[in-house]
């Protein structure tokens, strides 16, 4: 018992004050750190996949599918309707193309022009894309149609962000 080091009053006060001060500092800093890294912790909207269709519905012929996403755009929070042309390739791969013409943003249609039955056709300026979404040279669009990220889970097709090519 008597071997034990004695704690002087000064040491005791030092330890106590450091401890209490440390807790106070931590109490103040913790929320600040939390605020600072908050954007990192939020689930990113980019990874959001929406269920769009059942896999059985998808055929070799491109079909139009529609779904709704919530979009926050500065002032407004709104529901936006998204559309995709979806089909299955010969190799059983699913392809989901954005219908927005890369020229000036009109909505393209599959096989809507009788002269080009196997192409996507833009009604505004006669832009054309082959079935894989690649623009036909000599028509106004300068880039292929964007592809949607997609995944299949439990027989449902989920679509995510569109990727420019």
């Amino acid at each position: 018992m008597s071997d034990k080091q004695r704690v002087s009053r000064r040491q005791f006060l030092n330890y106590t004050l450091t401890g209490v001060g440390g807790f106070m500092a931590a109490g103040m800093l913790a929320p600040m750190v939390r605020f600072a890294i908050d954007p990192v912790l939020k689930p990113s909207a980019a990874g959001d996949f929406q269920s769009v269709a059942s896999v059985d519905e998808i055929t070799n012929e491109p079909q139009r599918f529609e779904w709704i996403v919530e979009q926050v755009d500065g002032w407004y929070e709104s529901e936006v309707q998204k559309t995709a042309w979806v089909y299955r390739t010969e190799d059983d791969e699913i392809v989901a193309l954005s219908p927005i013409c890369t020229h000036l943003g009109c909505t393209v249609d599959w096989a809507s022009n009788e002269e080009y039955p196997d192409e996507f056709y833009c009604p505004c300026h006669a832009g054309r894309y082959t079935k894989d979404g690649v623009n036909v040279p000599g028509t106004p669009p300068t880039a292929p149609l964007p592809l949607f990220d997609h995944k299949v889970e439990e027989g449902m097709l989920y679509l995510g962000q569109e990727q420019e090519r």
Binding site: L104, G105, C106, T107, C122, P123, C124, H125
Partner: protein
Amino acid sequence: MQWTKDDTELYLAEKKYVDTLIIPLIPFNPETDGTIAKEAFQRELNHLTTHLLEKGYRGRILLAPDYNYITGNYEAESQRINQWIEKFEKQPFEHVFLFTFDTKWKRWEKELKGHLLWVPSLHERNLQSTETRSFVKEQVNQISDLIKAYWD
């Protein structure tokens, strides 16, 4: 394209591709209690329809600012609309459409320098309902077919 900063800038750069203008004609009369709600509803429906039209063909159609007018004096209003059209045609626009739910314009159609797109309105009902949505979509399909007929 819409009458916003970003879209008008795009319009100025890509003018040669945009040859079609839609002007929404929106009537109102704040004097009479009986018509206010109906006219406000028509205004909403007009916005829904013209924006949907613009969305599908935004590379070739410019949506002009709304033409708002007090109901009644159609002669004076048609002259003012013609002034709008003359100014827009200086850009140039080849096809000018006037979109409205106001029946009265039908009688003045010949005086107008744009193509009148008059369509019957709905009775006031919920704009979010699936019925209204499919009605608006169907109308937009038919109106865009009509507009495309002018393009060919």
